[in-house]
């Protein structure tokens, strides 16, 4: 996997491009991204907000990240390894899924509904949790999922199917999230 980080140096936040590239390589290997895939990370250090999204063109992925997404919530302008790993896992699993012909053809990130975002995030971080043995913020993801899919048993069952699932395709995810 070929990783580039832009900007190469930060002046407003205490981030290190080399560290971001190293974490991207580490998480990318863990999610199973092939070696020939190029991943460019564009960090907007001016933004304290936490939006992060990706786009795939051929075998090249561009991840756009607002600086707040990598920031330590306890330490202003400081980088959080643990937080960045989760953001990268969420985005890189999407890249891996999009590269997999068996996964299907999900809409581009900006075209996903909030409910679809919540569902795919649950599936991505559930797999990350299974691979690493970490909690990966299951409680946070469950709450985010409930906001989009309802505070009821059916929604919790759907979340569990996604979080503990593997080998799902985009139609599977859509089906899980469709009320019976």
């Amino acid at each position: 996997m070929i990783v580039t980080v832009d900007p190469p140096a930060f002046s407003l936040v205490y981030f290190d491009a080399g560290r971001i590239a190293a974490l991207t390589g580490e998480v990318g290997a863990l999610v199973g991204l092939p070696d020939d895939v190029r991943v460019g990370i564009e960090v907007d250090e001016k933004s304290p907000f936490g939006k992060a999204w990706g786009a795939l063109s051929g075998r090249s992925a561009t991840l756009s990240v607002e600086g707040g997404a990598f920031e330590d919530p306890q330490r202003l302008r400081q980088f959080s390894d643990a937080g960045a790993r989760l953001v990268l896992a969420r985005l890189l699993y999407r890249v891996a899924d999009r590269l997999d012909p068996a996964f299907g053809d999900p809409p581009a990130d900006p075209d996903l509904t909030k409910a679809e975002h919540a569902a795919w995030d649950a599936y991505s971080l559930g797999r990350y949790a299974a691979r690493t043995g970490l909690d990966a913020g299951q409680g946070k993801r469950r709450y985010a999922f409930r906001i989009r899919h309802g505070f009821d048993d059916a929604s919790d069952r759907a979340f569990d199917q996604l979080w503990y699932g593997s080998g799902l395709s985009w139609p599977d995810i859509e089906k899980i999230c469709t009320p019976a």
Partner: protein, 267 residues
């Protein structure tokens, strides 16, 4: 035991991390925030709704601890000539409420997926409870801080309602009822203690205005559609605020929101 405890010495375990309010206002990224790029009112429609709600919940949690500490200090810091016993008894009762609110907030945080100390804590709420004059302290705690609590709880209650979260909605509703009582206590005691001293009442209300401006966080709390914490007029009026007072808080928040350097508070 010493009196007038400084914020720097508040007891916290290793899970907590203190942040300086000044650092947030002096964050160099503030100057790059595009006009109009503000998080907006806390509603489920916001893409970051879950994160924003959890962050606000953690802010409520540390706010409850500091409100408990503030009310507790008032029980201890003044003798009966400075503050009537009945006032201190009210503050002791308030401590009981704040302790319960702290526990409820921990459980709500857990419900929403947030851990204790996940976000940094600032001490500006407690700092408003450090005035050596009991009347000014009362306005700082029971009218400014607890008034903010009314706004925050109502915002969270409405958020719970809007996204269909019954746990959040009911917990916030119950705590909101207590906060209205706390502010009512502040309004009543301010009137009683300054009945024959209009100059002191004026100073107390001026102090409250200064604190309220700080608590509006440059428009983070206000009546604008882009204010994440909405000013809760109805509940404030139930607690003894007059329309003119609420208008002043709203106007100050609007003015401050237009200043440069807007930054969301955390904790």
């Amino acid at each position: 035991m010493r009196k007038s405890f400084p914020a720097s010495d508040l007891a916290r375990d290793s899970r907590f991390r203190r942040a300086r309010t000044e650092d947030r206002f002096e964050d160099p990224r503030n100057e790059y925030l595009p006009q109009g790029r503000r998080p907006g009112k806390l509603t489920p429609e916001r893409p970051d709704a879950a994160h924003a709600a959890r962050q606000m919940m953690h802010g409520i949690f540390v706010g409850e601890i500091q409100a408990l500490e503030g009310a507790g200090r008032t029980v201890w810091d003044f003798d009966d000539t400075e503050a009537p016993f009945a006032l201190k008894l009210d503050m002791a009762r308030q401590c009981w409420d704040e302790a319960r609110h702290t526990e409820i907030s921990v459980k709500l945080g857990d419900w929403m997926g947030t851990g204790i100390g996940e976000f940094a804590e600032t001490a500006f709420l407690y700092q408003a409870a450090c005035n050596p004059d009991p009347v000014l302290r009362l306005t700082g705690v029971n009218r400014a801080l607890e008034g903010l609590a009314i706004d925050v709880f109502n915002t969270m209650r409405e958020f719970g309602q809007a996204c269909g979260d019954p746990v959040l909605e009911f917990c916030e509703d119950w705590m909101l009822a207590d906060e209205v009582t706390h502010v009512k206590m502040g309004s009543d005691w301010l009137r009683r203690l300054t009945e024959h001293d209009p100059e002191r009442r004026e100073r107390a209300l001026e102090f409250q205005r200064v604190v309220d401006k700080l608590f509006s966080f440059r428009g983070f709390r206000g009546e604008g559609e882009d204010s994440p914490i909405q000013l809760a007029r109805t509940f404030r009026k139930m607690a003894g605020f007059g329309d003119a007072e609420i208008d002043t808080i709203a106007a100050d928040a609007r003015d401050d929101a237009d200043e440069e350097g807007w930054k969301a508070p955390v904790g």
